[in-house]
């Protein structure tokens, strides 16, 4: 009996609890095991440094590589230091074009021109100058960078936006090369970050020979119909323009004739990225490309016509070493000094090397072979000279400039009708070539006439006086003599 009471009592106790539980719950829950990331296993991706650095004795090549710094270029000197060092190690000489003199003047003596991320537009004249430079055998390297040209103004919250491709593409247009206003990325296979893109496929050129894998850090893609695409993205390399790799993507290209190289990034030139994977070899290839420029100078490049370290100076005709010619030679020596060259006075035709021949137009035996080179005939009566491209020219008051480029050495011949006019011809060449001389190919005739030559013009300043009408009398130019 008491047992029944116990069970009944227990039921009475449990029932309300049970009713409440059943009212509120419809079952028991069991929680599954919750997976979480294994944070301890994540490591920082590290780049492979595989490029050996070569240290060889520097043998100067005399080649000048001109870096553009006159177009608000978005790079610091430190960023291109590895390239500059590599160029110097390879015997090149690096100079900056800072805009203090015009581009045309600076390119006269350069073998290669390097443009990095400019934001100030090039004038039509500058683009033509570069074109002429490339046409004469100079090398043009154009480097863009997708990380340049934008900056946040933290005071205004405005993003300043000056993409370098807008400035660069007009320079590249004559060579059928153009950068896209994008950046290349690879989310799946990259060097530490999606914008650090590996390139393992290459266009077949000497430039890319032996390259295994290189990395570019925030690169624009580049297009060319006639040129060779050099660094090619793989199937997971995308352009930010389309988020796809339709048609294939490239980050570097060489123009069809091989003298213009365009690369969509220049971070790979900077330490430590210049040593990641095969980037060191890529930098070396860039150096080789720049130093391979063999320019054929023309009279437009005056006075930068010599390529050898020593220039032989050969007086001919009536030109002798005397009080009249020494100032000329001093001027020549000073000019060559500035170019890093030495002068050597010789009395007979050297077998090879750069030669500067100067003197008077005579039937000199030493002079004859030089005149023959240009098919120039002296009239026996000395009344006229037969010059190809000019016809018969009276020698009086005339300076004759002949230039012959050659692999073994360049030859410049300067002749006048009399030794007295030689200084006038030198003056015309150095400072007034474009206004005093007429050119036809590598022959120029210049006016050295004391009566008419602009080189001897003397400006006589008429005293400024107030005229009755109040107008000022401007200085007038009157010929000297």
């Amino acid at each position: 009996m008491n047992r029944n009471k116990f069970w009944f009592g227990l039921l009475a106790f449990v029932l309300p609890i049970l009713l409440k539980v059943v009212w509120y719950y419809n079952g028991m829950t069991t929680r599954p095991e919750i997976a979480t990331p294994d944070y301890g296993k994540f490591t920082l991706p590290q780049p492979a440094f595989s490029t050996p650095e070569t240290r060889e004795a520097v043998v100067p090549t005399g080649k000048v590589i001109l870096f553009d710094a006159a177009h608000t270029n978005l790079y610091d000197a430190g960023e291109i230091q590895p390239l500059v060092e590599a160029l110097i190690r390879a015997g090149g000489r690096v100079e900056m074009h800072d805009g203090s003199s015009d581009l045309k003047t600076n390119l006269k003596y350069a073998n290669a021109f390097v443009v990095i991320s400019p934001t100030l537009a090039y004038s039509a004249e500058e683009i033509q100058t570069v074109q002429k430079f490339v046409h004469s055998g100079g090398r043009l390297l154009v480097l863009s960078d997708a990380t340049r040209g934008t900056s946040v103004n933290y005071d205004t919250g405005i993003t300043e936006f000056i993409p370098d491709v807008n400035t660069i593409n007009p320079v590249l247009a004559p060579y059928d090369l153009r950068f896209n206003f994008d950046y290349i990325y690879n989310i799946q296979e990259n060097e530490g970050n999606f914008r650090n893109v590996y390139f393992g496929d290459f266009g077949e050129t000497d430039f890319t020979a032996d390259l295994g894998r290189v990395v570019l850090y925030g690169a624009h893609s580049i297009e060319s119909d006639s040129g060779t695409l050099l660094l090619l993205g793989n199937r997971t390399t995308f352009s930010s323009l389309t988020d796809s790799n339709e048609g294939g993507l490239a980050a570097a290209a060489l123009s069809a004739e091989g003298s213009v190289l365009a690369i969509g990034d220049f971070t790979f030139l900077s330490a430590p990225y210049n040593k990641v994977e095969d980037n060191g070899l890529l930098v070396q290839r860039v150096v080789e490309f720049l130093l391979a420029g063999e320019r054929t100078p023309g009279l437009d490049d005056l006075p930068y016509l010599f390529s050898q370290p020593v220039v032989s100076v050969l007086p001919v005709g009536d030109a002798q070493l005397n009080a009249g010619t020494i100032p000329i030679l001093a001027g020549v020596q000073s000019m060559l000094d500035k170019m890093g060259k030495k002068m050597e006075i010789v009395d007979e035709t050297p077998a090879s090397g750069d030669v500067l021949v100067f003197g008077t137009i005579t039937s000199d035996e030493i002079l004859k072979p030089y005149l023959d080179e240009f098919d120039i005939t002296l009239d026996e009566s000395a009344e006229y000279i037969e010059i190809p491209g000019f016809g018969e020219v009276g020698p009086s008051g005339i300076g004759l400039v002949l230039f012959k480029p050659d692999r073994s050495g360049n030859t410049l011949v300067l002749l006048t009708d009399s030794a007295d006019n030689l200084p006038l011809l030198f003056n015309a060449l150095v400072s007034e070539f474009s206004t005093s001389c007429v050119t036809s190919g590598n022959i120029a005739i210049c006016s050295t006439s004391s009566g008419e030559s602009s080189s001897e013009e003397v400006v006589e300043e008429t005293p400024v006086e107030e005229e009755a009408g109040g107008e000022k009398v401007t200085p007038t130019t009157t010929p000297a003599g």
Partner: protein, 283 residues
């Protein structure tokens, strides 16, 4: 005779009464003492940084430690925030989820670190135009190390923390952690691979559903019902967990500069799991 019967009945009742009434009263009292199951609602409408994460974690801890809260609904509207605070909240959320179901419901946005958090819940609701995704890390590079004349230190990175290059690689490792968190949370429900997810794109709720970033489009009420279903409760009360928190935290600035100006980006340099809307450009 009748009186004897009544007397006998009374005797029976008297002998049974202590065995029925008292246990019944005790049972009713015990039933009353059993708390009504609750669905705890944690609302979060902010970036994730030290101050906001402390409040959020306090709510999560409260929900975990109180057995009457049978399931939790995380109502979120956040662009994300600092890496470390996001990870801290995520780990607290995982501990809660080990004990109780957690259902997320997205308001305007669950981007970057905000999505990091909801990827660690059991079920995710969003509105058709909620902004979902932005998986990835963003940060400012520190300056290249240099020497100050007037500041001395005992090592090259004592002042700068780490080399610029290391900093850049660090965000790649953090990104991997983010991706693994999404994979761990979403599992087979995720319909896209890393090549799409890690682009950092933001998708509207409708597309996020197609891509498996969320589980359903629905209201906050749907989320509460789902949480109750997962906790297997028929009837329940809904409580705002924030109302139960008595801890206080010192407010700190996240978007505002030291002089109080509101900025569109964090004032302090560092690494973030944060969606920063594009700044206006000058052209």
């Amino acid at each position: 005779m009748k009186s004897e019967k009544s007397k006998a009945l009374w005797e029976v009742i008297r002998s049974w009464l202590p065995w029925t009434l008292i246990p019944l009263i005790l049972g009713v009292l015990a039933a009353i003492a059993i708390p009504i199951p609750k669905i705890g609602v944690i609302s979060f409408n902010d970036a994730i940084y030290d101050y906001s994460s402390q409040y959020l974690m306090a709510q999560i801890r409260y929900a975990r430690e109180h057995p009457e809260i049978r399931a939790v609904v995380l109502k979120i509207n956040s662009p994300g925030g600092t890496v470390v605070d996001t990870e801290a909240v995520y780990l607290e959320l995982i501990r809660l989820r080990q004990k109780k179901p957690v259902v997320a419901t997205v308001g305007g946005m669950a981007a970057s670190g905000g999505y990091y958090l909801i990827s660690g819940t059991d079920y995710v609701y969003a509105k058709p135009t909620s902004s979902i995704g932005n998986v990835g890390v963003i940060g400012y590079l520190p300056p290249a190390p240099f020497l100050y004349e007037e500041i001395i230190s005992t090592g090259p990175y004592k002042l700068w923390g780490s080399p610029r290059d290391t900093y850049q690689r660090e965000i790649e490792a953090i990104k991997q952690g983010f991706y693994q968190a999404v994979i761990a949370g979403r599992g087979d429900r995720l319909e896209i691979g890393p090549e799409t997810l890690l682009r950092g794109q933001i998708w509207p709720g409708t597309q996020a559903l197609e891509l498996g970033l969320i589980d359903a489009l629905g209201s906050d009420s749907d989320a509460i019902e789902k949480a109750a279903e997962m906790a297997k409760v028929w009837h329940y009360d809904v409580i705002d967990v924030i109302g139960t928190i008595i801890e206080t935290f010192e407010p700190t600035k996240f978007y505002a500069s030291v002089d109080g100006v509101n900025l569109p980006y964090p004032e302090k340099p560092g690494l973030y799991m944060l969606y920063i809307p594009p700044l206006p450009t000058s052209k």
